[in-house]
């Protein structure tokens, strides 16, 4: 993928920024747009965002490295965030993680061989009521059991097929 963001999107963002009183408020949106298009945010993506927002790359990088859902390193087509905070942990998050690791053959921070999944831990997805929970894309999946996980993985990998 040579292009980080299509030119028309860049222009659209630039236009939005021009009319904005505080362009920095848009930084997460721009980064997410880059991520949506490119999968993750490379250094050039940070520089592009800075250019769009009229600020320095450092200012963008400060935010990009702060949020764990903005990926500054390559990820698979689907990123699995498994909650490991207290509620989920007490309801079996460790087993969920163990199952995922075994199933996908990867550890935290790693991407499966087929480039489909990246496994990341997350602290609290706000789904304590459905613990244990994980998030793929923007969807939260609660009350995980091995069977459910298998179903979700199957669905996601089908969707994420290149």
């Amino acid at each position: 993928m040579s292009q980080i963001l299509p030119q028309e999107q860049i222009d659209a963002w630039k236009e939005r920024v021009t009319g904005h009183a505080h362009p920095m408020e848009l930084v997460v949106d721009v980064l997410r747009a880059i991520q949506a298009h490119h999968g993750w945010v490379p250094d050039a993506g940070v520089e592009l965002a800075a250019e769009i927002l009229g600020t320095t790359p450092l200012r963008v990088e400060e935010i990009a490295t702060f949020y764990d859902k903005i990926y500054r390193r390559p990820v698979g087509r689907r990123v699995i965030h498994v909650c490991d905070s207290i509620c989920c942990w007490s309801r079996g998050a460790e087993e969920v993680v163990g199952f995922l690791r075994e199933r996908l053959g990867i550890g935290f921070g790693e991407t499966s061989a087929d480039g489909c999944f990246t496994l990341l831990p997350s602290c609290c997805l706000g789904a304590c009521g459905e613990a244990p929970a994980m998030m793929i894309g923007l969807t939260t999946h609660g009350n995980l059991t091995p069977a459910r996980i298998l179903a979700i993985l199957a669905a996601e990998s089908g969707e994420a097929a290149p």
């Binding site: 940070v46 320095t56 790359p57 450092l58 200012r59 990088e61 400060e62 702060f66």
Partner: protein
């Protein structure tokens, strides 16, 4: 004024003081990292815990976060708080690499001090330690992230206080990282402050790397010689070499920070070509012979041509005492031809300012507290960097700042900029004073009206003018404007940006005496046969260096006193080496008329690194130090008068003789300085008609540059890597008309010289003006700032070829 009790001692502090400061007043220093007087409290390091036993707040609290209130009873020695602090320091030290032996901060490391003060002497943690990669941060700053304790002081200084945008905090959690997006030089001209501010060794001075330990340095309070602001500095030297400068603190001037020019400009003291022995006709002689020879030759010339055939030239680089001694030497010789600056227009501007500033004088601290600032013809980052920082603090505090300047002046804060051609600055000042916008139209009129409104409505307005662009007439107008804007309930301050550390003092001594132009004319006609030149370099400083060259060439005798290897020394028959600021004591009068004394930091001498030749230092017994001959200029000048007086005696005499310097005798080097007394000298109005280009013509404006044009800093090796390349700045309209593209080489034809240099095209400079920042030691060295716009012609080099 709340009164509180800390450790059974009661103290009364001003409203709004935090408890940590209140304790400091009692001499109780509690370990703290994140709190800094200039940065404020954030309560991040959790180290300044105190037990609040009684009063409005109870329990263990962070003292920096609690405002002192009436009736508080606080204990710093409470067992629980002591234990609390000990735990916090142990946590902070958990990942520390314990590499103090190879760390330059060792010895002056707050973390070391606080660790010991906190009672943590033995590491209990046996696990693995976190490590970081480092970044290359340019020629000034060395980065070692492993030592970081995440106090955020660096980011708060760099971004919040100094307004830098290329360095900040990255990451979260266990990988918080302080650095840049990519390796590269820190762009802020205040980056050196990271070294002072970092409580441990993450940021250390690269130019000072591994040179010395803090305890081996000779240090003394001093004043920065690199611009007219007079920032407090603490130079440090060892083995006869000035090795570093760190910021001193003077609440009235610089506060706690200095700029990189002041921090890394010390290299001139160890310049290889620096004059180190008295020379008579190129022969090395001792001081007695040199002084005798100078005196004999002067007497001979006086006998042949009368006393007025001797002229004396002082300098804004020399201290007040040296310039005063020059004046008394002139009296002794019987000549009235004594001038204190080689650049006549600057001289007259400084004299206008010194004569008229009076009660309008504003310090940098006033600027920081101001709520409305007008900068006209002043580019703080180039001419007086700390002023930019002061303006930023004002703006952070809610002030409005307007800039009227032909240059694309960019301050590290939000400002409004009106690019106005230099010859119209006077009109703008007049318009602001008269509230009459008839000579302006459209945006300009709106801008000026807005500025006037803001100034009129502000509580502490200050107008700041640059000497180089305003000139004497403009400076007079600026002072007049400040007077007009002043009301009974609320004065309007004024500040002039002068070039030399002692421009103001030299101007006070000059009074309404002759200027250098008069002097050089007299040299050319042969009326003046001999010149005594005190730390002054007319060949690069004079408004017209070529004319000065002609004048110097006609002299029978040139006696030059200097510490720098200037061009003028090449013409001198007698060279008397002087000490640099850090090697001699003296006094500078800064641009607001504040007398500030500095102490001798180290004795002059050839650095051991040179005499040792890199290997072992010499294995010899020597009676005297090599290269130790330079003497303070005031001592040499007193010697030429046949006197041997101490600095204290000279100050005494000066204070008695001249009521304006009455406070000089009681001035301590670490004090905030003292303003000169106002003697109310009136100067005749001088009016030089500016060159105004006709339509289609371009005017050349030579101006100062941050790292390129200051004289002493030019001789400083640590600044070599950041010296700019010469360039010509054109407005995009003019560039379009000439058909040049950014970076293209153009040929500049001017009365001074014809040079070829690249262009930078800006939209925020004034149209019709070609701006040339001076870079010493480059092909544009002959261009001198401060002479107003000059006619010029610009061709594309391609066309020419």
């Amino acid at each position: 004024m709340p009164k509180l009790t800390i450790d059974n001692q009661s103290v009364e502090v001003p409203d709004g003081t935090n408890v940590l400061e209140a304790a400091k007043r009692l001499g109780i220093v509690i370990p703290h990292f994140c709190y800094h007087e200039a940065l404020g409290a954030v309560g991040a390091c959790r180290l300044c815990a105190m037990k609040f036993e009684d009063g409005p707040v109870k329990g263990i609290q962070m003292a920096c976060m609690v405002t002192a209130q009436e009736g508080m009873v606080v204990s710093t020695l409470d067992a629980a708080t002591v234990e609390f602090r000990a735990h916090v320091i142990e946590w902070l030290m958990m990942n520390h690499p314990h590499d103090c032996p190879v760390c330059d901060e060792g010895g002056e490391c707050q973390l070391q001090d606080m660790t010991v003060a906190g009672g943590h002497t033995l590491r209990r943690y046996r696990g693995l330690k976190r490590t970081y990669p480092n970044q290359q941060l340019g020629p000034f700053i060395e980065h070692e992230m492993n030592r970081c304790i995440q106090c955020y002081r660096c980011a708060r200084t760099y971004q919040d206080y100094c307004g830098g945008e290329d360095f900040g905090v990255l990451g979260t959690n266990q990988r918080v990282y302080f650095g840049r997006f990519r390796d590269g030089r820190l762009e802020s001209p205040f980056s050196g402050n990271l070294v002072d501010v970092c409580p441990t060794g993450v940021f250390t001075d690269k130019a000072f790397r591994f040179k010395s330990r803090y305890w081996d340095l000779e240090e003394a309070p001093s004043v920065c010689p690199h611009c007219g602001l007079g920032c407090a500095t603490i130079p440090g030297g060892r083995y006869r070499e000035l090795q570093r400068v760190r910021a001193g603190s003077n609440r009235q001037t610089n506060g706690f920070f200095i700029c990189d020019r002041g921090r890394f400009g010390y290299g001139h003291a160890a310049h290889a070509a620096r004059p180190r022995v008295p020379l008579v006709d190129g022969q090395e002689v001792d001081w007695t012979q040199a002084l005798a020879a100078a005196r004999a030759r002067l007497d001979k010339i006086i006998a042949a041509h009368g006393p007025r055939s001797v002229a004396l030239l002082g300098s804004s680089r020399a201290g007040l005492e040296a310039n005063a001694q020059l004046r008394s030497l002139a009296r002794l010789l019987g000549t009235d031809r004594v001038v204190f600056a080689a650049h006549a227009p600057r001289d007259w501007t400084a004299r206008t300012l010194a004569a008229g500033l009076g009660a309008q004088a504003s310090s940098l601290d006033d600027v920081r507290r101001s709520d409305c600032l007008l900068l006209i013809g002043a580019d703080p980052l180039a001419e007086a960097p700390l002023l930019a920082l002061a303006v930023r603090q004002a703006v952070r505090g809610g002030a409005r700042a307007a800039i009227i300047d032909p240059r694309p002046v960019a301050l590290p804060c939000a400002t409004a900029h009106l690019p106005l051609a230099p010859w119209r600055l006077g009109q703008a000042l007049a318009a602001l004073g008269d509230n009459d916008w008839s000579r302006f139209e459209g945006q300009e009129a709106v801008f000026l009206e807005g500025v006037h409104e803001a100034l009129a409505g502000a509580r502490h307005p200050i107008v700041i003018g640059g000497a180089d662009l305003l000139g004497p007439a403009g400076m007079r107008q600026l002072l007049e404007l400040a007077r007009r804007l002043s009301r009974e309930d609320r004065p309007c301050g004024a500040m002039g940006v002068l070039s030399g550390p002692n421009s103001y003092g030299a101007a006070l001594l000059a009074g309404d005496g002759p200027d250098f132009e008069e002097l050089s004319n007299a040299m050319i006609t042969g009326e003046v046969r001999a010149l005594i030149c005190l730390e002054s370099d007319p060949l690069t400083q004079a408004a017209d260096p070529a004319h000065a060259g002609l004048a110097l060439a006609r002299l029978d005798l040139l006696v030059a006193l200097d510490s720098l290897p200037t061009k003028t020394l090449g013409h001198a028959q007698i060279i008397l080496p002087t000490t640099v600021t850090a090697e001699g004591a003296g006094c500078f009068v800064n641009n607001e008329g504040r007398m500030q004394t500095f102490m001798r930091v180290l004795a002059p001498g050839l650095p051991l690194r040179e005499t040792g030749g890199g290997g072992h230092p010499p294995r010899l017994f020597m009676a005297d130090t090599p290269g130790a001959a330079p003497r303070p200029a005031w001592e040499i000048l007193a010697g030429l008068q046949g006197r041997a007086a101490s600095l204290a005696e000279l100050r005494d005499a000066l204070a008695r003789e001249d009521v304006r310097f009455a406070g000089l005798t009681a001035l301590a080097a670490e004090s905030e300085g003292q303003r000169v007394a106002d003697a109310g000298l009136a100067l005749p109005a001088t009016r030089v008609e500016d060159y105004v280009p006709r339509d289609g013509e371009l005017a050349l404006l030579v101006c100062e540059a941050l790292f390129g044009s200051e004289e002493t800093a030019f001789y400083s090796a640590p600044l070599d890597p950041v010296r700019p390349e010469p360039r010509l700045i054109l407005h995009e309209r003019d560039a379009g008309r000439l058909g040049v593209t950014p970076g293209e080489q153009v040929r500049l034809h001017s009365a001074v010289e014809e040079v070829v240099l690249p262009v930078e095209i800006r939209a925020d400079s004034a149209p019709g003006v070609a701006i040339l920042p001076r870079v010493r030691g480059s092909l544009v060295e002959a261009f001198v700032p401060g002479v107003g716009p000059q006619p010029c012609r610009i061709n594309r080099e391609v066309d020419h070829a």
